[in-house]
Symmetry: D2
Subunit: 224 residues, 4 copies
């Protein structure tokens, strides 16, 4: 289990396949069996590099990761746009949410070079700026959660009451994704123009990917 942001989590729950499954899937096109698929680390790495470079994606689909993720909703929304994967999420229709909100340590100002991105300001007023912004965020989250509880206390259904909760509320879910789709996720979400918060999740996912499929990671990393 790896902690991300102030209260987030990324944890690998299940995994199948690996670099050998990639190599075996590629070499079945030559009629080679799973058991004889590996030709040593060097040749296997070379093959995986070739597949990556030439966008031969299917051999990577036989390796699959299941993650448990705890993330703010505005980040979860970005992750759930990756359709070649499977999600099951906590439901605000069934359960009362805990008052767990993402409260940033630091606040970013818009990047000049980039329409939608943002950067950390380096000026001396930064500490004061962060303190003020954090207080604002904490206050509104606290107020929203009070309203949420008031509505529930009055008898409003959970599925309605939840609508007042802000987008930095933490949600949790399982995410199952094959290595091909995972690499696409990483390429997009580790990128410099991705939102800083989702990058923190993507970096942890990348580390797990690297550990489980070191050769495929190398190939992806060189190509990316």
């Amino acid at each position: 289990m790896v902690r991300v942001l102030d209260k987030g989590i990324v944890e690998l729950k299940n995994f199948m396949g690996g670099d050998l499954a990639v190599v075996a899937a590629a070499r079945v096109s030559n009629g080679v069996s799973y058991e004889e698929a590996s030709r040593g680390a060097e040749k296997d790495q070379k093959l995986i590099n070739y597949l990556t470079k030439h966008k031969h994606g299917t051999p990577f689909e036989h390796s699959v990761f299941q993650f448990y993720i705890k993330a703010p909703i505005f980040i979860a929304r970005e992750m759930m746009r990756h359709r070649v994967s499977s999600f099951n999420e906590i439901s605000g229709r069934y359960v009362q949410y805990e008052p767990e909100f993402y409260i940033p340590e630091q606040f970013r100002i818009p990047a000049e070079s980039n329409k939608q991105g943002s950067i950390f300001p380096s000026d001396e007023w930064k500490r004061q700026f962060d303190w003020l912004c954090r207080r604002d965020v904490e206050d509104i989250c606290s107020d929203a959660y009070e309203t949420y509880k008031d509505l529930l206390r009055r008898g409003v259904a959970k599925e309605m009451a939840r609508m007042v909760l802000p987008l930095n509320l933490y949600t949790q879910y399982y995410w199952t994704v094959n290595a091909r789709s995972l690499m696409n996720f990483l390429t997009l979400r580790c990128a410099e123009d991705a939102q800083w918060e989702i990058r923190q999740f993507a970096f942890v996912v990348r580390d797990i990917f690297k550990e489980k499929m070191p050769m495929t990671f190398n190939a992806w990393n060189d190509d990316d």
Copy 2:
């Protein structure tokens, strides 16, 4: 363009296919050409009923709808879980959101028969109850939007400031979906145990589906 809830919209932007495309796709298995695919309304309807009843889904994939949708985020999140479809959405990283929030006319209490559902209470205190709840929702949305603007005014990046906005904020997006995936959506989201708000959107989508593909609608409706 059809209005849904207080500020929502469903609008068909593009469409291709139709009942004839279903019939043609089914009858190509018998080597029949597109031009000769129809055998009259009665036989065509019977064929479509057969396909629906026996879960032969592929002939319905050649008909495609593109909708423009404006919906609260907590409803959009449910719609975007339907992965066999395409979405492009307004981005809170690029634009400053308008203060458009879903403010319910009436508030529902939990259904006794159903863990996650909800019903409209019929008691005399209802008017007062709705008035109080609505005031609470309006107040917190107003406060959240103030905090949002404060953060922006201080120079915080849009992608960060948006995290304080509540889940009833209106978002907008295109949704392209084929008739097979659409029927699956309608079966799940018109159902009685679906959330009332998404049902309102699903009902409008269903009407458009009925208009564009009347035979397929009949078959789905009888089978559902």
Copy 3:
């Protein structure tokens, strides 16, 4: 490794998930952790039955099977129409095919009750009939393979020469598929109106599914 037909194979190469992964994915909607997801065999079975009956398919997507399959091309073509799964196949562009053809033991006549199906005739002339048909199939396969080799010997590219080989040529491939998509496959391909040959493959896949996910198998089997 299980033998199917005269020269076919089904073999499970990798697997992840299982009944517990189904139960955990379903109960995350209530905020229950993976470790606490099981509530004993009886309650878990009941939950899985409920999911199956109400077509809640996503919890089954976190369990994944990788099979190695050796099957005649006309059967492989049916399997490869299941798009929510991953395939890597031997390529007739790269390798010279071995003369491995499916030669049926028995031949079926059309079922009267069913347009596309077929049945085994029970009459006394059956032995003679099978003998004649088998000889015809063997002869043409032998001739086709001779032509294939002649073309190769003359220098024709493998990718062209293969076009003369018949549809009962054996091919081989990996097939990775999650439990949701697998159940859909089994429902369609174990059915009485499916072709007898693909049913033999589907029955073996079903046995493996039953062994790996006994509760999910029960639920699917009762619902199917």
Copy 4:
């Protein structure tokens, strides 16, 4: 309707979307409406180029093509591996196939530079070589079709008898695919290392794509 190879066909049956749909889907992220999405040909082209270059694929998913294709089975098998698309095909379980086989005009020898590819030999013996190969292919197709008819005449079910037919038998099907998936198809199947026969189909599909979505074609063509 465009003729391909000796008896093949590519025909556009339905289409929706177009360059404007791409531009509208991209600009909805800025909150721009469909009606105001275009900013003139030059700016639209520039936007589409940007999307293509940065692999922003979703805006292309709202444009959809339905083709009717008639192709040899060994080519159809390659096309049907493109899973993000919809197929309905003539069924050899239902209908008796016509004796329509792909008989190449010219035969290719293996390319030296490329393991699986092939080239047209330029030597003077070419005419003789082609004549001999063509005769071989014609003969075996004729024999196979005779065996097919014999089996049917004896009473064997169509679904079994078809197994003796060769892979160059023509099949026919509808193929519905969005512009994003189509561009992926074209990149892979117009490429020099793709089989010559599928390239002929891909070139026709490309022409239709160019006609219907000229700006998107330009962007894809420059990037490819």
